[in-house]
Each structure stands twice: as structure tokens, then as C-alpha cells.
Amino acid sequence: MLRWLIGGGREPQGLAETIGEEQTQNPYTELLVLKAHHDIVRFLVQLDEYRFASAGDDGIVVVWNAQTGEKLLELNGHTQKITAFITFPSLEACEEKNQLMLTASSDRTVILWDCDTGRQVRKVSCFQSTVKCLIVLQRRDVWLSGGNDLCVWNRKLDLLCKTSHLSDTGISALIEIPKNCVVAAVGKELIIFQLVAPTEESLEWDILEIKRLLDHQDNILSLVNVNDLSFITGSHVGEMIIWDILDWTMQACECNFWDPSPQLDTQQEIKLCQKPNDISIHHFTWDEENVFAAVGRGLYVYNLQMKRVIACQKTAHDSSVLHVAKLPNRQLISCSEDGSVRIWELREKQQLAVEPVPTGFFNMWGFGRVNKQASQPIKKQQENATPCSLELIGDLIGHSSSVEMFLYFEDHGLVTCSADHLIILWKNGERESGLRSLKLFQKLEENGDLYLAV
């Protein structure tokens, strides 16, 4: 549109699907830029219905009001960038009602904060390495920190037990699975640990390595619990493996997201293949039926029942997709290194506009319970049936650099954080206008300026 301005020379590099300026379905018509950080903002954590906290490379944690964009607290305690950030759910039994949160930093400390007062409750600084992930096991009321080793802590920040040194790269992701187990992603490996709680025999906590899964070809980037039955891992080379949560066996594996398809423009594909990170799986999200994967620049919707990709958007963004989230109304939001946030809608595809899905996608290795025979009819069905499609219904452009993460509030809109040090609060303009009117009349009433003419 602005080519006349730029001078007609360069094409916009993006190959991704674009949407014009007319976005009738995009509800976000108001934005508020929040400025407090001095470096990349990497983490956003929702505290309650109206508050969230942000943290990033500048080592500070800021608590915000999601409605007004007001900065509530600024927490200073870390000297280096923050590497992990979770909330610590308060126990019902505990008198302390204040919400707590845990931050880990590359200054090799972990701090427990009180988000209501901004007080630094406790600080642990006996780590040998940077803590890269944190997880709270609520049932046991302990939390685990993953760095080069795995440590177990209680609420008072006493070290309960720890593993030996695992690797120099450290644990990149941790999830909790049933039977007191946790899964840690360490490089290419998945290690399953079991936590042994104190019993009559031994008063000590212990953590035991149970199993190592070595099926990934490259570093595991993402690890999520999908449901009570399975968890999923995604690797740098685009392998997505669905694991059984109980016996840790592979249920399904997708490893050819990058497979060139004859229907697609070859040029484009070559370009794609040249960059391996174009197929790395950065993030997953899920709902009851589907897993949504951010694979390179694309988005894929994988149906758990059908065990196949039901919709995809190969170049959803101009650059790697970093975070995806599913909204209740069949909408999907993705953010990317290209600085944009896009809103997608999962639609049943119309008969005529069938987008050819590369067959390679649906190649599956039958492992475990899935057998090859089963996959054949599915494949046929796919080709005949109309899979869904991801329709772009809007994009949010505000950040000038990679959008690291976002947070969706049902009532207040969307919060995005970015490498440009900014946090942007995207709001539904119409709703905000109504709220402001409400506030106006409330104030009028308070001031006694409003009365009803009898």
C-alpha cells in the first residue's frame, strides 16, 4: 500500500498471508503501550483476573493492572536476566493469602515474591548453574528448579533433594506427569524422574531417574502436557512426538512438517528447507481435540483423535512463530519474531476451496498402539474429507521487534511483550468505550452531578 512512499523498489519480504487494513472481525481497536522495561521482555504471567506480571532480560519484574495499564509494582532483586517465571499458587490451608511468584535469573538466584506487596519473601542463591525452568507440584506443595541439575524445594525454600549433574546444557523444560513423576527435557533426551516423598521408613525426600527417552533427533524445544493421557514434545528439527503419559511410550510421531510438497511452489520450499529453524517446534497449545503447534513460521493443527493434521498455515508469519494460544471461540492467536500478532479462526473448509495438504504430513509411523493399517483409511479419509482451515481474521501490529509472548484476558484483552522492551495492551475499543461511559456516570453520580429529572 505504501509502495509509492518507499519508492517502489523492494517488495515486502514477507511471504506470509496478509490481510488488508479492513479487519471487521478484529476486535482490538485500542492499544495502550506500557513502558517499564529496559530490555527484552520475555515472560508474562497472569496473577489474577486483573493483574499480570512481566519479566525479562533487565532482571526486573513488573506487576500491571490489565484493565488500566497502570504499573502496580516494580520488583527489583535480580541483577541479571530472568530465565524462568511462574506463579506459586497459594494453598487453601495456608493463612497467607497473598499471591506468590517465583523468578529465576542467570545471576543464579531464585526469588520468591509477594505480588500484593512487592516484598521479596525469600531468596535462594546456592545454585551451581542458571535455573532455566521452574515447576510447582501443587499436590506435594514442593517446587522444582531445573538447571544443570534438578532440585526439589519446599515452600519455605529449603532444599529437599537434588539430582546429580545432568548435563551442561541443562534442563530446558519440565512437566509434571502422574505417579509423582516429572519429565525433563535435556538436550535431545527426555528424562523421567520420580519424586519420592518422605514415608515412615525414610524421612528424606528423594528424586530418582526412571527412564531416558532418546527418540528425538535434535534438541527438544517444547514439552507440554496435553491431557490425562499424553504429553507432547517438539524438537528443533520439527519432530513432534506424542507420548503416553503413563507408560512413556510413543503414541505418534510427526517428523516431516518440512517435507516438500509437489503442490507448493518449489522455490518457496527450497527457501524453507535451507533454514532448519524454519521447522523447529517452538510452542504447543492444545484443547480437548487438537494440538496447535508453532512450527517454524507455520501453524499446524493436529487432531488427537484422528491423529493427523487437520489444518495448517505453512507461512503464518514472516518469521518464526514463538507462541500460540487457543481462544475459547475457535480462535487461535500466534505471535512471531517478525513483530506481529495474528488472530486465526479454525473453520471447516468449504468443499470447493480445498487446500491440498501435503501427503507427507500424514505419514505416520505406527508405534505402540497405532498400527499401520489404521492409518491407511485415515489417509484416504483425509484426502476425501474437507479438513479445516486457519483463516486469518486480523493482525496486531505494534511491536517493532520480535513478540516473545502474549497473554489473553477474557475481560481485558490481549497483552503482548516484545524484544522492543514494550508491553502492549490490546483492547476491544467498543467495550472500553462502554466501560469509560460507565465510569463517567459513576463519577458523575459520586460528584452529585447526576440526578434524574422527575
Binding site: L5, I6, E21, T29, E30, K35, G398, G434, K439
Partner: protein, 935 residues
């Protein structure tokens, strides 16, 4: 859909740059004859009076005890200004009307000299011979070496326009009081310092004398005193006495501020003074307390001198100059204040009045006025509002009325200054050197035939002619508390209808070549002490009345309404007066002081029949704001005749009325429009708060208006660009030449709604790539286009954020912005407009925008539009109600609604904000396609 070829220019740039816009010639029958004096460079408003000076100026004079009245300085200090005007002569005139004989010295029965803290007196006088009228502000300064320790001074605002002086009396008085207070504070400081020094001298002298006496005593042990010793002893005694006297004086002068602060609740003096200081050089920006404490601290380094026994009170010594009398800082401040006054009252009265009304109206729109008003002025106003003094309790004035009672704007023009009656005002006329006192007396007549009184006055006047001087006191005002005490509530003599006064002046001119007309005096806050009054038992009592005793105020208001208008209203007047019980009516009016229209004072004898008409057009409302506005606005193509009165437009009745008024006041060459007189009646505020804008901002507006006009004529796509600004979409003006970009940005900034009082969201020039925060902060940006590849980032950012911006490319003469199909902007920015002058166009824009503001106000504050009527009502229903309101009731079509919606959001934010100006509003935008317009 408009694409580029459709909007290709109607014009070419070159044409416009070479020649100004040529409008088609009017047909013969429509042309208006030119003003006959136009060729002489005179404007229709110029007074063809005999004034010998080119424009108004301020004169400071002194009544020197050595040489008599003498001019000290003028502001502006430029001989061109006062030309051949005889300053010496006029100094004599103005110094001779000081009613407030300042009395200092040994009062009978007091052992020590007593300082009288006399209040300043304020007098209006006219000198028909010189063609000069002056507001004269007398004050006294203390000087230890002067006779009675006082030096009388006066500051005079001299103008050829009598009405200006009369109608701006209150403002002049307030402003000059500030200057005077500043001067006096500095003087007190200096005087105290002087006293300190003198005391040290005396102390030293005493010590010396004492030692000498002791030595003599010792040397002389014969038991008797030599004459020398006695002389020494006497000397010592007189020094002792002098010390006590001076200590007493010092105590008195130091006690001043406290006394004064205690004495009057609205002692403007010191407080305003310190507030003034804040804005002036930092040296004096101390608080009241510290000022009070260190005001009189003596300077440490002073070596006392021996004082000779003989006093040196003789005429050969040099008196201190004004600057020496006053602390230097205060003196400079005073000068600054005086030149401020000179700026403030520069220009035609009609202009001053209009801007005052304008300001007063704006002040009332405290919810919406931040949107388009110049924030500096608004700031001023806010400050003024805070420091505005409470209204003086006046028997003739109504207590401050609530908004619902009087929806008419509260504007006070000078009328207030005439409406008090007169009691015993001692007038001391000093002729030549003031040795001759001529005291005239008009006996008090509280109930007398007005005609007789007039005769009586005439007689008195004739009497004065015999002395070669005709002095006519046209009006005085006493402070209200004096008024309350005064038994006689008789109103003042001469009505101040311009015509009448003029005729009077003329008649006097025939009588006397050398006449002084004291038009009005006002020792306003000055309370003449009772003892002082008593010492002048034979003061002039200028009291007479044309009508009821208590109705002075009404006469003057009545007379302010222009005669022409009065004639036009004659019919309706008679009707009403026949219907209404006139006495009752008058009684009512005396309470409310609401005289919208009344009979002009054609002749003095007519004054008997003055009837006040109750307000008929300006319907009183019982709500703060009412929503039953007319739907006539729905016709967007209505003409602009009502634009001058946007505040009224929503009420059809008012609209009619204001239209009438505007027409009739247009007919009037007279500046006192009916509107203003009406407005003034309901005022309870001092109008001093209304500063006319400084000349610089005026020039700025003019230039902005001119450039905006040029933009509109040059660019056929000006409308969508202006729409972008009004609807809060940031407009980026892109260009290589900084000067051109800045000029256009300044011009277009008149269309940018403000977010708060504090800053206009305009960035004139930026060369770095734009960021998302910039769009939140600024709504109009001048952006540098660099030819180098470095600019790629800038342009890339611009294209990336293109959905938030409209881009006006000056170099390519192109605009990219959303489509506009409304009717509002074409009226606001008509490229075929007949307006030629920048300032006129600026005013046109202001009035249109004010109109828009009132629409936004209504939309914002209509309860039912924004809140669901019941729980089950859906959002869609509310939205459709809003849309239909905007369309049907406010007459907004298509994109115009968005403008009002945007303004409404700003209003909401501004109203609900806790601390105004703390945060930027959120960036609102629409996902609408943009179009490219190109010439």
C-alpha cells in the same frame, strides 16, 4: 471509492504560489460601498478624536514637593506613542484628582508621627481638550526624607477611547492594583531598610553625643552647666526622641503585612504579588512568610554616620527617584506588570470585550474547553480560577447563582463599576501646586426630584465654570461595605449610555475649553477611615438620582444596551411593561440584576420611565445542562450565521435569540452588544481574570489560520486529512524541507484535539523512525524525509504502522488516508471560502470546533445512550441507539460520527481522570482501508 485520478487537482500549485486566491467578482448589486476613509488607512473603528497620541499608554507621574506634578515615565517608553501629547499638563490633571488625600504626619493628639496605610484611589477622568481619558491610580510611597514621609504618585492608563476606560474599569483597577501592590511592597522594604540605617545613624550619634557629654561633665566639675553642655544635652534629647520616633515608624511599617492580611480576606496585594513573582525571575520567588520575614531585614554591611544636629529638610536636596524608593527587583517587576497591562488592553474595546466574553464562556465549558483551546491560555485560566477572589458581598448584587438558575454566561463587563451609589466622597481638588483647595459641596439629597437634581448639578457645574475649570464627576464607586453603611442609596447621576455621555461631553466642550470630567472614582477596596472622613466635613456629595433610590445599577445596565437595539425592541418593551407590574418588575430586577433588554437612555428625563424587562428570550432552565436541544442541526448544510454562538445553539430558543443578537449587534457600530450587557448582569465574578491573549499568540493564530487556509486551497484532499486529525488518527506530514513541514504542521495543529490542558499532541519535526508510542503521544507529526538509505528505516516504520496513520507526503503531493464522506469538514474547510484573513479563518475554525465540542458533550453525557436501559438489553441495541442519536439528533453523517465519538472518548477520559494530564489516552484506531490521493 475514490482513486487517485479522481481527485487529481482542480488546481496547480504554481498558480497559487504566484497569486493569492482570486474569487469571482460580485455582481454590482451586491457590492457594498467601501468605507470612505479606507484610503487614508483608517479602519471603521478608528476614533476620529482629537487625541494627540497614537495609541494607549501608561503614564507614571509624581506630585513632587519641590516642582509639583511631573511625569516620570511612560510605558511604552517611546515618544512616538504619546506624540505631541502634553505629559506635563496631563500629569497636573491626573495628580489633581486624588480624592484620597494621603495623610501622614503628626496627627493631633498623637505624640509620634503616624504612618497611614492609605489604600490606593482609583479615578477615571477625561480631558476633552486633550482628547484623552484616563484611568488614574493614585498611590503613596514612603520616603524618609520627604515631607510627611510620603511621596504621592500615580499611574494612569491613558486612552483616547472613553468607553474603553469605563468598561474596562474593573480590569484596569485589578491590574493596576497588582502593579501598585508590587511597587508598595518594594517601597516598604526599601523604607524599612532606610529606617534601619537611620536608626543606626541615630544610635551612633547618640553614643558620640553621650561620650562628649560625659567628657564635658568630667572636664567641668564646677557644678553648673555651660551653655555648650546644655546644647549637647538638648541635642542628645532630640536624638533620643528621634530614635523613638523612628523605631515607632519601623514598627509600624513592619506591622503592615500582618495588619493587611488580617484586615481583609481578599487582600490581593501580597498574595497575588507573590504569585506574580513565581512567574517572574526567580530571585523573588519566595513564599509569603519568608518574604514577610526577610523583607525588612537590614543589610549587614552598613557603617553608621554621624547625623548633624540641624535637620536638612530643605529644597535643595535631591529627592529619591522612583527606582530608589523601591527595591530594584520590585521595581522591575512593577514595570513588567505595567507593560503587561499595556499589552493586555491594547487594541479596540470591541475586541477586548469580545475576547473577555469568549473567555468567560470558555471558562464555563470546563468539561470541553480543553479540546481545542490553546492550552497556555487555558492554563492561565485555571490558575486564575483558583485565585479568583470570592465575590464581594454587595447589597445590589445577587448572591452567586447556581448554574441551573442562570444558564447565561457569566461575563462581567464594566457595568458592575457603575452600579453602586455614592455617599460622602471627599473630593479634594488641587490646582496648580495644590495650595488652593476648592471645595464644593453638593448637599445630600436622598429623596428629591431627579430633574431637580439634574438642574442642581448643572448649576453646580456652571459655578465651576467661573473658575475656568469645569469639573464633572461622572461616576464614583465606593467599596461595597461603605455602600452598605451609607444611608443614601441614591444612584449616580449620569447614565453611561455611550450616546448620552457623548452628548454630555459635547455640551461641556461648548461650555468650557478646559474641562476635566471625572468620570468615575473608585477607592474600591479603600475604606476611608472614619476619622479621616470626619476631618473633611465639607466634602462634595455627588448624589443624585434619576429614578428610584435603590436602582442605580439598573440605570447603568439599561444605558449600556445600545440605543439602536433598544429602538428595535421598543414594541415588545411597551407590551411587556404594560403587562407586567413595573414596580414589581423593578423590585425583582434589583434582586437578580438581570436586565436583558431595557430602554435606552435617550434623554435624562426619560430616565424616570426606565422599566426593566424580565428576561423573555433567555429562558431560565432548571437543569445544569439540558438535553432537549433542537433537531434543526440535523440539517448539516445550514449556514454559518449562528456559529458565533455555539454554546446556545442547542436550544432553539436560545439559538434564535442569539442569532437576533448577533444580527443586531452586527448592525450596531457600538461595541456594547446586548449579549454582553445581559451576560454581565448575572456575573458574580471579577473579570480581571480574563487576560486577552498576548500579541505573540495572536500572531501565531493568525499565521496558523493563514497557512491552514492555504493548505485547504492548495490541496484538494485537505478534507480527508483534516478528518484524520479530528478523528484522532495520527497525520504524518512527510517532507524534506523542515521549514515547510513545520509551517504546515503548525497550520494543521488548529484541528488537533488536545488530550488535556497540558500539551498539544503535536510534534513539529522528527527525523528518527517512528515508534508505536509516538502515535499514542502525537496526533500530528512532521517527519523528515532523508534521501539517503538511512531513511529506509523511517519509511519502513511508516509503512509498517500505516494502519495507525495518515501520511501526507509534501514532496510527492500525495495523501494516504481513509475515505471521508461526511459534511462536517467541508464546512470547516471549504476551499472556496470567502474568508481571506488568517485570523478570521482561525476564528471560524474555533467556532466550528466549539460547536462540535458541544455535540460531543451531549453525546458523552446522555445517560441513556451509553448504559443499557435494562439488564437484558444487548450491546447491539445500545450501539444502534448511539448511532441513531448521532445521525438523527446530532446530524452527523458517515464519518462525522467518528469524530464526535473520538471527542467523546477524550471527554470521558478527561473527566474520569484522577490527576489530569498524567497519562496519555489509549491509541484508538479503526481497521479501515486507506486510499491514496494524489495531485
Amino acid at each position: 471509492m475514490i482513486s487517485a485520478p479522481d481527485v487529481v487537482a482542480f488546481t496547480k500549485e504554481e498558480e497559487y504560489e504566484e497569486e493569492p486566491y482570486n474569487e469571482p467578482a460580485l455582481p454590482e448589486e451586491y457590492s457594498v460601498p467601501l468605507f470612505p476613509f479606507a484610503s487614508q488607512g483608517a479602519n471603521p473603528w478608528s476614533k476620529l478624536s482629537g487625541a494627540k497620541f497614537s495609541r494607549d499608554f501608561i503614564l507614571i507621574s509624581e506630585f513632587s514637593e519641590q516642582v509639583g506634578p511631573q511625569p516620570l515615565l511612560t510605558i511604552p517608553n517611546d515618544t512616538k506613542v504619546f506624540g505631541t501629547f502634553d505629559l506635563n499638563y496631563f500629569s497636573l490633571r491626573i495628580m489633581s484628582v486624588d480624592y484620597q488625600a494621603s495623610f501622614v504626619g503628626h496627627p493631633p493628639g498623637s505624640a509620634y508621627p503616624k504612618l497611614n496605610f492609605v489604600e490606593d484611589s482609583k479615578v477615571v477622568l477625561g480631558d476633552s481638550k486633550e482628547g484623552a481619558f484616563a484611568y488614574v491610580h493614585h498611590l503613596t510611597l514612603y520616603d524618609l526624607e520627604a515631607r510627611g514621609f510620603v511621596r504621592p504618585f500615580c499611574m494612569a492608563y491613558i486612552s483616547a477611547d472613553q468607553h474603553k476606560i469605563m468598561q474596562q474599569f474593573q480590569e484596569l483597577s485589578a491590574e493596576f492594583s497588582k502593579a501598585s501592590e508590587c511597587l508598595k511592597t518594594g517601597n516598604r522594604k526599601a523604607f524599612a531598610g532606610e529606617l534601619e540605617k537611620k536608626l543606626k545613624d541615630l544610635d551612633y550619634t547618640r553614643t558620640v553625643l553621650h561620650t562628649e557629654t560625659e567628657i564635658q561633665k568630667k572636664a567641668n566639675d564646677k557644678g553648673f552647666y555651660s551653655s555648650q553642655a546644655i546644647e549637647k544635652a538638648n541635642e542628645l534629647a532630640s536624638v533620643e526622641k528621634s530614635i523613638i520616633e523612628h523605631q515607632d515608624l519601623l514598627k509600624q511599617i513592619r506591622s503592615y503585612p500582618h495588619r493587611k492580611l488580617k484586615g481583609s480576606a481578599l487582600c490581593s496585594g501580597e498574595m497575588e504579588h507573590t504569585q506574580d513573582q513565581a512567574s517572574q525571575p526567580a530571585t523573588t520567588s519566595n513564599t509569603d512568610e519568608s518574604a514577610a520575614t526577610d523583607l525588612y531585614t537590614c543589610r549587614p554591611a552598613y557603617t553608621p554616620k554621624l547625623i548633624k544636629a540641624k535637620s536638612t529638610k530643605c529644597f535643595d536636596k535631591k529627592l529619591k527617584t522612583l527606582e530608589e524608593l523601591c527595591d530594584t527587583e520590585y521595581f522591575t517587576q512593577t514595570l513588567a506588570q505595567l507593560s503587561h497591562i499595556e499589552h493586555m488592553f491594547r487594541g479596540d474595546l470591541c475586541y477586548l470585550l469580545t475576547s473577555q466574553i469568549d473567555r468567560a464562556l470558555l471558562k464555563q465549558q470546563h468539561i470541553t474547553n480543553f479540546l481545542f483551546e490553546d492550552f497556555v491560555e487555558v492554563d492561565d485560566r485555571v490558575v486564575e480560577k483558583q485565585e479568583s477572589t470570592p465575590p464581594k458581598p454587595s447589597p445590589g448584587r445577587p448572591p452567586s447563582r447556581s448554574l441551573e438558575e442562570c444558564p447565561i454566561p457569566q461575563v462581567l463587563i464594566s457595568v458592575g463599576s457603575y452600579k453602586s451609589s455614592v455617599e460622602s466622597v471627599p473630593i479634594k481638588m488641587e490646582q496648580e501646586l495644590g495650595d488652593e483647595y476648592r471645595e464644593a459641596e453638593v448637599t445630600e439629597m436622598s429623596s428629591f426630584d431627579p430633574q431637580e437634581s439634574l438642574d442642581y448639578l448643572d448649576m453646580d457645574m456652571k459655578g465651576s465654570i467661573s473658575s475656568g475649570e469645569s469639573i464633572e464627576v461622572l461616576g464614583t464607586e465606593k467599596s461595597t461595605s461603605v455602600l452598605a453603611k451609607s444611608d443614601s442609596q441614591a444612584s449616580l447621576t449620569v447614565p453611561l449610555s455611550p450616546q448620552v455621555v457623548r452628548s454630555k461631553v459635547v455640551s461641556h466642550r461648548t461650555i468650557s475649553e478646559d474641562s476635566i470630567e471625572v468620570l468615575s472614582t473608585c477607592p474600591s477596596e479603600a475604606l476611608i477611615p472614619d476619622d479621616f472622613k470626619a476631618s473633611y466635613p465639607s466634602a462634595i456629595n455627588e448624589e443624585e438620582s434619576y429614578a428610584d433610590d435603590s436602582e442605580g445599577a439598573i440605570h447603568f445596565q439599561a444605558s449600556v444596551s445600545p440605543p439602536e437595539l433598544g429602538e428595535a425592541e421598543e414594541g415588545s418593551l411597551e407590551n411587556t411593561s404594560s403587562q407586567a407590574d413595573s414596580s414589581c418588575c423593578i423590585g425583582k430586577e434589583s434582586e437578580s440584576l438581570r436586565v436583558p433588554l431595557s430602554t435606552p437612555a435617550h434623554t435624562p428625563s426619560d430616565q424616570d420611565g426606565v422599566v426593566s424587562i424580565p428576561p423573555q428570550r433567555y429562558r431560565q432552565k432548571d437543569q445544569g445542562f439540558h438535553v432537549d436541544f433542537a433537531v434543526e442541526n440535523a440539517n448539516p448544510s445550514q449556514d454559518n450565521s449562528s456559529e458565533g454562538f455555539p454554546a446556545y445553539e442547542l436550544d432553539p430558543e436560545r439559538l434564535l435569540a442569539s442569532r437576533d443578537v448577533s444580527k443586531s449587534s452586527l448592525d450596531n457600530s457600538d461595541t456594547t452588544s446586548n449579549l454582553s450587557s445581559i451576560a454581565s448582569t448575572s456575573s458574580d465574578r471579577t473579570p480581571s481574570s480574563a487576560y486577552p491573549p498576548g500579541p505573540s499568540s495572536e500572531r501565531h493564530k493568525k499565521r496558523a489560520g493563514q497557512n491552514a487556509l492555504k493548505f485547504i486551497r492548495q490541496y484538494p484532499f485537505a478534507h480527508p486529512a483534516i478528518y484524520s486529525l479530528l478523528s484522532g488518527r495520527t497525520l504524518v506530514v512527510l517532507g524534506e524541507d523542515e521549514a515547510i513541514v513545520r509551517k504546515l504542521v503548525t497550520a494543521l495543529s488548529i484541528f488537533v484535539p488536545n488530550h488535556s490542558h497540558h500539551a498539544k499532541p503535536v510534534k513539529h519535526w522528527i527525523s528518527s523512525p517512528l515508534h508505536i508510542t509516538d502515535f499514542q503521544k502525537w496526533k500530528l507529526i512532521g517527519l523528515q524525509r532523508v534521501a539517503s538509505p538511512a531513511s529506509a528505516g523511517t519509511l519502513h516504520a511508516l509503512s509498517r504502522y500505516s494502519r495507525y496513520t495518515s501520511v501526507l507526503d509534501l514532496d510527492n503531493r500525495a495523501l494516504r488516508c481513509p475515505l471521508y464522506r461526511g459534511t462536517l469538514v467541508p464546512r470547516l474547510a471549504d476551499h472556496r471560502t470567502q474568508i481571506k484573513r488568517g485570523s478570521t479563518y482561525y476564528l471560524h475554525v474555533q467556532s466550528m470546533l466549539t460547536q462540535l465540542c458541544s455535540k460531543a458533550f451531549l453525546y458523552t453525557f446522555c445517560h441513556h445512550l451509553h448504559l443499557p436501559a435494562h439488564d437484558k438489553e444487548t450491546e447491539e441495541l445500545v450501539a444502534s441507539r448511539q448511532a441513531s442519536f448521532l445521525k438523527l439528533n446530532l446530524g452527523l453523517v458517515n464519518e462525522d460520527a467518528k469524530v464526535v465519538q473520538y471527542l467523546a472518548e477524550l471527554l470521558k477520559l478527561h473527566y474520569t481522570q484522577e490527576a489530569p494530564g498524567t497519562s496519555h489516552p489509549t491509541l484508538r484506531f479503526d481497521y479501515v482501508p486507506s486510499f491514496l490521493y494524489k495531485i
